[in-house]
Amino acid sequence: MSSEDKKPKERIGVYICHCGSNIAGVVNVADVSKWAGDNLANQGVVVSRDYKFMCSSLGQELIQKDIKEQKLTRVVVAACSPHLHEPTFRTACKGAGMNPYLCELVSIREQDSWVHTDKIAATEKAKAIVAGGVSRVVHHEPLIPLKVPIHPATLIVGGGIAGIQATLEIADAGFPVYLVEREPSIGGHMAQFDKTFPTLDCSACILTPKMVLVGNHPNVTLLTYSEVQKVDGYVGNFTVTIRKGARYVKTADCTGCGICWEKCPKKVIDDKFEAGLGYRKAVYTPFPQAVPKYPVIDDINCTYFQKGTCKACEKFCPTNAIDFTQKDEIMTVEVGNIILATGWDLFDARRVPNYGYGRLANVFTNMEFERLSNSAGPTGGNIVLRDGKTTPKSVGIVHCVGSRDKNYNNYCSAICCMQSLKFAHLVHEKTGATVYNFYIDIRTPAKAYDEFYQRIIEEGTLFVRGKVAEITDAARNPGEEGKLIIQVEDTLVGKQRRIPVDMVILSSGLEPRAGSKEVAKTFGISCSADGWYIERHPKLDPVATMTEGVYIAGCVQGPKDIPASVAQGAAAAARILGKIQQKEIALEPIRATVIEEKCSGCRICNTMCPFSAILFHEDTMVSEVNPALCQGCGTCVAACPAGAITGTGFSNEQILSQIDGLLLLTLDKKKEAAVA
């Protein structure tokens, strides 16, 4: 600590927020304020106040008035987490003519009043936290935010409904979009569905017009059958490497006439679009309304690629558009912002052995049922058993398959209740069968959803409250012969029941895409333990991520239905449009810098940086941090064995003096004890 007789060089104002009763209910704020004024004067505190809501405009004006009248050079606000109100107080200080980075926000709410019940101890802790902030703020330097230009183009990864919505919003506003889709066509899962809840409008009828708009839009570069390989750069200036898969079809010449797939002799089970219920050819478009209309040749199944002969498609193509020599193409694009909308995978129902999927023929998954019920599907919309002809007389729909279950996934998949109700309606309408819904809880919490539930009850669907224990074909009595028996506790009756049915539909849950963790790494964002991508704030910033310039939309953030996915797609687009309009972006000046003289060139920091912001200069043998890429996380600062990296706003001096401040109280007490 500096000697106490030295005159402090800064004039510091300390402001203690009550946050209503959030802080004042536990911490004696008046005591903390008085203590700081009396005991921290030697460090430069010239004014110390407490106020009911520092973040209110009156609270902010209080600070601004003091800055002007008391000629403050530093401000410490003890309130909530900097995550919430740091920008508020920095802006207030800036308004009074102070450099905003000379303001320090310390948390006595999240780190104190919210986590303690002992009022005396919590008050002492608040004093320590304030003392830490005061010691630290003395070492703050005026900083100037870095400004970088924003490239007006946007990369959107994933052409499902969320990605499509985001694409149209941005393209319609007049800015370029690169839409990258792994499959041969955009459309995503929504293109596979039959009807959409709760209004039962045809999924394709509402989706395909949007697909066509994307396909024809002058501002959209559609890259289907493509994947992002690498992302370099930073907000405003990303360089993205994309691998465009070889279609073996010259899109300039192809008219999408369909003669190639008509003539192709090779039938392949379509386990993607038709969920394994139907066939496609080795040259195909996933479905008739595909965008773009051009087919692809699936070289793993194509007879020519496997055996060297056939070329039926090439022979019959009227425009000579088939080109077996095409190779994957690597391209790079420059974009300012990125939206990840890569969607979800279906939980594999085979993982629940007691439900018999894959073993019992007439147990279907929800995606299989969507195709079965779809008039463009393999049965023309006839709901039939696996034999392809028998109409079921009784159908059991099982909720929560792989969801809300610690053996599989803990979370609720959010869409299954409504989807199961929709299935009940479709079965009822198309077959007149007796329909059972087996549920733990019915969750219908959106507009017109519970009304839909009421409608399904009215239609005569039978609801059994109980998680299905097992599905078996082992009959115990003649009534069960040849049926699938659903064994369940009817929890509202309190008895075990065995209900024989002809068909079972499993409402399998939603899972993060296989490989979502690797994709997150490519884009420098984080994944929850479940594998869903983490938003910047679960309530107030659901489409941004902790990485500037990378946004998420749709199920990639967590299970959600079509309306919510569309809302997120549009929200992410709005956020990006706002950024593009600003033309440049101010970056937090909290950055790491390498002190060249101290750097030994060991390169430990190079690989540890989660943002790939550190370059190594081969000529001078030292590392350098790219300030535009650096997010100020501090990993390299801690990792550098030579102490050659320092973080602005987080210098060793700042951190050590904050620790000194935190310990001030303890040290004083020890001194007192020693004197006594």
Binding site: N354, K406, T491, G494
Partner: protein
Amino acid sequence: MSEKVTLVDPPSAGPVAHEDLSLLNEVSLCTPGDSHLEMCIQCGTCGGSCPSASAMDHTPRAIFAMLRAGMRDEVMKSNTPWMCVSCYYCTVRCPQDIHITDVMYTLKNMAIKSKMVQDSTASDFSRTFISYVKNYGRSFEIGLAGIQNATHLKLAARLPNMIPMALGMLTKKGMSPLPPKRIKGLDGLKKILDRAQELEAE
């Protein structure tokens, strides 16, 4: 309208006496390890999976709801834990990882201590079994079957049908009708069992 309104006590099973609100915690504490009992979402996977459910007066799920409601006497009198065959289907399938089979053992212990067991068939079976283990250091199946049948299972009425099976057990399976040999170190086993009983009493 000046008619006097009289309040009537609500029907039985509620309100629950305050001390019984902790019944669930008591069962949880008496179960080895973390039973996760308080995590039950009443889905009925246990009752649906249970091979003995039809013989139980309440399904396991209903028992857990009754524990929450503090219905001590009803649970102690229930035959549910005694019908459990320890197949562990419920435990394996439970979406909340509740150690249901373990809880059933806790309930059996508590029921014996409470002296509220309604039908002692199953508890006597356990007692006879453990008395043989104490005396010989191993199980004695013929003796166990004999005593259980003689005391509980209306032996006279069923005897004619059981004779062929009993003979078969002696001849085909080679079971000895004589008590088994005592194991070596029976004293050591006794010490272990006594210590276990001591610990349980604590």
